[in-house]
């Protein structure tokens, strides 16, 4: 039973949660709103975590506003450091331990979590994933005054961190069990250009092996790789992948797949429960970026305030923050048939994915070729028109 005088409740205080709240407020200034977040609720930009060292910003300096400030500006109740323990969609209630909160509509905006098996060894406390502002603050404290960083993972986040931490004065070594950096996002020529760019600023790569164990050695660690090599470091960053948080939704009987399953109205399988951001799988797509999140926030705010609006995604290229070799990539759809046509000069790569008819379905640009993105964007089809 829906209690329409109960507040709309948003779980999660990241870009998804706060941007949805802002858009809701534009359309419904008096609608009771509540946000519940497991962290301190500070508003911050996750993309900025990847340039923190280069811009010499502490976690406090990256915070755009406190939870109290956001509660005031948005006229909403924000419960920080609070975990939702269960969702009862039929009763329109969530449990915060023993406390029960009723909602009229519920939005799951709790994001994705770092993937990572526990690595064998006794140095778990020197292995950090950096997936939110609090993580970033903890890492900065642990790495203060240190020199060598071992980064596990050579995808987007691993490479951005390698670049940023090198800019911050660290020596970075990257280990990943793949043939190329950005194994899922970039075609090989573009990937190799980025690798060369990063090697040019001093990043060392071990592509192929896994990290088997990490053991304490003095104040730092020694990592043993599956090929027998060892890497010594002062601190370790785990950047091996993100997966949408699913457990609470699954426990509530809400349909999950790779992400929490949603249609183009961002509705889940439970009435009055919606989802957006890194935890959402919208018509089969989990997109861990800001452009789709913003499109979803605007559409969902309209839907929740009485104007059902399907989200659509236009052209949404991804800008990778590796100044050593900048990249803009618009991946082709997973089932797209075509081939890569590559032009390159040194680390400047223009890779175009075209079908037999010559239609552009995706691209990857590095270095100076990034300037060509405007022309290519005009040729691309919308991701979800």
């Amino acid at each position: 039973m829906s209690n329409s005088s109960a507040p709309m409740v948003i779980i999660g205080s990241g870009l998804a949660g706060y941007n949805l709240a802002k858009e809701l407020r534009k359309l419904a200034p008096e609608q009771p709103l509540m946000m519940i977040t497991a962290d301190d609720g500070r508003n911050y930009s996750k993309p900025m975590l990847s340039t923190g060292y280069g811009k010499n910003k502490t976690a406090d300096e990256l915070a755009l506003n406190s939870a109290a400030g956001m509660a005031d500006t948005l006229n909403m109740t924000i419960r920080t450091n609070t975990r939702v323990t269960a969702i009862d969609p039929d009763a329109h209630q969530i449990s915060l331990g023993d406390e029960v909160v009723e909602y009229s509509k519920l939005v799951l905006a709790w994001g994705a979590e770092a993937v990572g098996p526990r690595i064998d060894g006794d140095a778990q406390d020197l292995v950090f994933s950096i997936n939110d502002l609090e993580d970033y603050g903890r890492f900065r404290a642990a790495a203060d005054g240190k020199k060598r960083v071992l980064i596990m993972g050579a995808g987007l986040i691993g490479c951005e961190f390698a670049n940023d931490m090198t800019a911050g004065g660290f020596e970075c070594e990257v280990v990943a069990p793949c043939d190329q950096v950005f194994p899922t996002l970039l075609p090989v020529d573009a990937a190799n250009a980025v690798q060369r760019g990063l090697e040019g600023i001093g990043v060392k790569f071990h592509l192929g092996p896994l990290v088997n164990r990490i053991e304490r050695q003095g104040d730092g660690v020694v990592a043993t790789l599956s090929n027998g090599d060892t890497v010594t470091a002062d601190v370790v960053v785990s950047a091996i992948g993100l997966r949408p948080r699913l457990e609470l939704a699954a426990n509530a009987g809400i349909r999950v797949n790779q992400g929490i399953v949603a249609d183009r109205l961002l509705q889940t399988s439970a009435e009055d429960v919606y989802t957006l951001g890194d935890c959402a799988e919208v018509e089969g797509r989990v997109l861990l970026y800001v452009l789709p999140l913003m499109a979803a926030a605007r559409a969902l705010a309209k839907t929740m305030t009485g104007t059902p609006t399907e989200v659509s995604y236009g052209v949404m290229p991804v800008t990778v923050k590796t100044p050593a070799c900048p990249v803009v990539v618009s991946p082709a759809a997973a089932d797209a048939a075509g081939r890569w046509i590559v032009e390159q000069e040194g680390n400047d790569v223009q890779a175009e994915f075209r079908n037999e008819a010559g239609d552009l379905l995706g691209y990857a640009l590095t270095g100076a070729k990034v300037a060509n993105k405007v022309a290519l964007n005009k040729e691309l089809p919308a991701i979800m028109p």
């Binding site: 930009s45 993309p47 340039t51």
Partner: protein, 54 residues
């Protein structure tokens, strides 16, 4: 001519350059950029930009 930076993704709007691919001619002051302008890289609105001190 001033520069304005997106606080979410760092994209810079340079008044001297405008954003022609978004329909904003060079020389357009930030105040004159339409209210429904969104950051081309990340989609946030004008309210999430701040002026960059040179």
């Amino acid at each position: 001519m001033k520069k304005w930076q997106c606080v979410v993704c760092g994209w810079i709007y340079d008044e001297a350059e405008g954003a022609p691919e978004e329909g904003i001619p060079p020389g357009t002051a930030w105040d004159d950029v339409p209210d429904d302008f969104i950051c081309p890289d990340c989609g946030v609105g004008k309210e999430d930009f701040e002026m960059v001190e040179i």
